[in-house]
């Protein structure tokens, strides 16, 4: 068990290095000289060279990468070109905003979609099953940002039940902050439930065919006991991996939801950085989101043995 955890943690390190190299190379491919971009059109000829030297842009690319990596490891993500502020503190602030929404949404989506998918599987090819699979397929096909706009239109504008302001810091007004989170969270819950329910259904059907389930039934256990005590853990394991993947990818995909509800989150920071050609911000966001994705998947893998003890062997 300890060995499994250790090897799994160590195996994340090369991935993180390759991810950082990819982000660095990608940023080097952006057309234009970062130093010239920072100084703008009014720069004197000598200034650009001086800044290039100061930023280390005159050094070999490999040296630049190592210097940058060294800075990143020590928590220095550089300064934003637009504001001049350090990137990391803002990344952290924005991350907490996005993460609150993403975690709440994934938790609720799991609590709703996993039982729905399992019940559908248990009632395979009956009315309940068709209803669940139908709703799941429809939800899977609705783009989350459009769903968000529709919920905003109906519950925010027409019915006026919920605020449309999107985001209020908890420190300012906890009640309003919670209320403002309902629409974005509900959007993501609906948008992500489809794929989770379908996965839960498919893996439950797979497990339900196995002999130990027949054996459990033959012992005379009730259907509910067979499903929750015997089938659940094995059926949930693949769904758990999918939930991890969704959780990680939402940190990037949430940009569209943050746009709909004007939420100052991580995804929006990245998109605004791309508009403004603020390359330290883009680089920081990409690296941060990709690192989080790797870490979330690592965490998911570390919990996996609790669901399925066979994987440590």
């Amino acid at each position: 068990m300890g060995r499994f955890i250790l090897t799994r943690i160590l195996s994340a390190i090369p991935t993180l290095l390759i991810v950082s190299l990819t982000v660095f190379s990608l940023m080097r491919m952006i057309p234009g000289d970062p130093a010239a971009l920072m100084l703008g059109d009014l720069a004197q000829p000598g200034q650009v060279e001086a800044l290039r030297e100061e930023m280390g842009l005159d050094r070999p690319v490999a040296v630049q990468y190592l210097l940058w990596l060294g800075n990143v490891v020590t928590g220095d993500f550089g300064l934003s070109i637009a504001t001049g502020d350090p990137v990391l503190p803002e990344l952290w602030d924005r991350f907490t905003v996005s993460a609150t929404i993403v975690f709440a949404a994934i938790l609720l989506a799991t609590l709703i979609a996993v039982p729905a998918g399992m019940i559908a599987a248990w009632r395979q090819n009956k009315g309940t099953d068709f209803a669940v699979i139908g709703v799941a397929t429809v939800l899977l096909s609705i783009p989350s940002f459009w769903l968000g706009l529709m919920l905003l239109l109906v519950f925010g504008l027409w019915l006026g039940w919920l605020p449309i302001v999107g985001y209020v810091p908890f420190s300012r007004d906890p009640g309003l902050a919670a209320l403002a989170l309902i629409l974005p969270v509900a959007t993501l819950v609906l948008a992500e439930s489809g794929s989770i329910a379908r996965m839960a259904r498919a893996s439950t059907i797979e497990v339900a065919r196995l002999e130990y389930i027949t054996h459990a039934r033959a012992k005379g256990l009730s259907e509910a006991a067979v499903m929750w005590r015997h089938a659940f853990r094995n059926a949930f394991a693949p769904t758990w991996t999918l939930i991890g993947l969704i959780l990680g990818s939402l940190l990037a995909n949430i940009a569209v939801i943050e746009t709909v509800f004007t939420i100052p989150g991580l995804g929006r920071m990245l998109v605004d950085g791309i508009y403004a050609r603020d390359y330290p911000v883009v680089q920081g966001c990409m690296l941060y989101i990709a690192f989080m994705y790797v870490l979330v998947n690592l965490a998911v893998d570390l919990v996996y043995p609790l669901l399925d003890p066979r994987v440590t062997a």
Partner: protein, 277 residues
């Protein structure tokens, strides 16, 4: 055989709905400019944000442009981008996957290292990064999304090639004196057709969704050219005055995705018996 017959009704309904939507999309994409009642860029300022009228039967947008025409031409944009992107991802992904799986050794190791680096980026992130490099443009999206989805193709093709290359018929091809390239093209590659077809159908849906998301973020199809995603983006400030400008493009995306997803399920049931549920 019995099991197959019993599954047939649902499969047929899925496939039928999926095929209908995809055929409709193809027809709109091919003949859109001839069907569209107006030029999608033509301004009719007196009709700004009008609802459903005899003149503009799906209303007009914030510049008085005809919504029906923009939706029809937007279908062409989405379909063309998705098709080109799938083709790009399949061509590059299959070439790299076959090379890695068949040649093995260092080629495989280096290709897979780069591939896994790409796979380590979640969802839209890699596409957003590429858009930062290429800038928002039609060809930019195709290359950005193509490169973002290529690694999945590489994985699928490589694993199929790895499982096939040791089989007797491949050995037989070599023994009878066929060159490595002939063996690869004639005997290994055809085995990738089924898994790649399943993947391509699914990918078509992902790409329509990603393209509309990028366009919605202002990093996809640049206005004034219509795409379903950028129509949603430009109509967002007017959501209260003219909700139909938001409702209609989203419905188009959702119906298209529903059709593509159903077709995808049907294709998977048909070609990939292991995934059958």
């Amino acid at each position: 055989m019995i099991a197959r017959a019993r599954r047939l009704p649902r499969l047929r309904l899925n496939a039928l709905l999926g095929v209908t939507v995809v055929v409709l999309l193809a027809l709109l994409a091919l003949f859109g400019p001839f069907i569209a009642p107006y030029d999608p860029l033509k301004l009719d300022l007196p009709a700004r944000m009008s609802g459903f009228t005899a003149q503009h039967w799906l209303g007009a947008d914030e510049f008085g442009r005809d919504v029906a025409s923009r939706l029809i031409v937007g279908a062409r944009t989405s379909a063309w981008i998705a098709l080109a992107t799938v083709a790009f991802a399949l061509a590059t992904g299959t070439a790299i996957g076959v090379a890695a799986g068949y040649l093995r050794g260092w080629t495989d190791r280096i290709l897979m290292m780069v591939n896994d680096a790409f796979l380590a980026f979640p969802g839209l992130l890699l596409a957003l990064g590429f858009m930062a490099v290429f800038g928002a443009s039609r060809n930019g999206i195709i290359v950005a999304l193509g490169l973002a989805y290529m690694p999945v193709v590489v994985r699928v093709v490589r694993s199929t090639v790895l499982s096939v290359r040791e089989r007797e018929f491949v050995e037989a091809s070599r023994v009878t004196g066929n060159s490595e390239i002939v063996t690869m093209l004639r005997h290994v590659l055809p085995n990738c057709v089924a898994p790649v077809t399943v993947l391509a159908t699914t990918m078509f849906g992902w790409i329509i969704l990603s393209e509309s998301a990028l366009s919605f973020l202002g990093l996809g199809v640049p206005p004034p050219a219509p795409s379903w995603g950028n129509m949603l983006a430009t109509a967002r400030p007017y959501i209260n005055q003219a909700p139909h400008l938001i409702v209609l493009p989203g419905l188009c995306i959702s119906i298209t995705l529903l059709g593509v997803n159903m077709l995808g399920d049907a294709v998977r049931d048909w070609l990939d018996p292991k995934m059958k549920t």
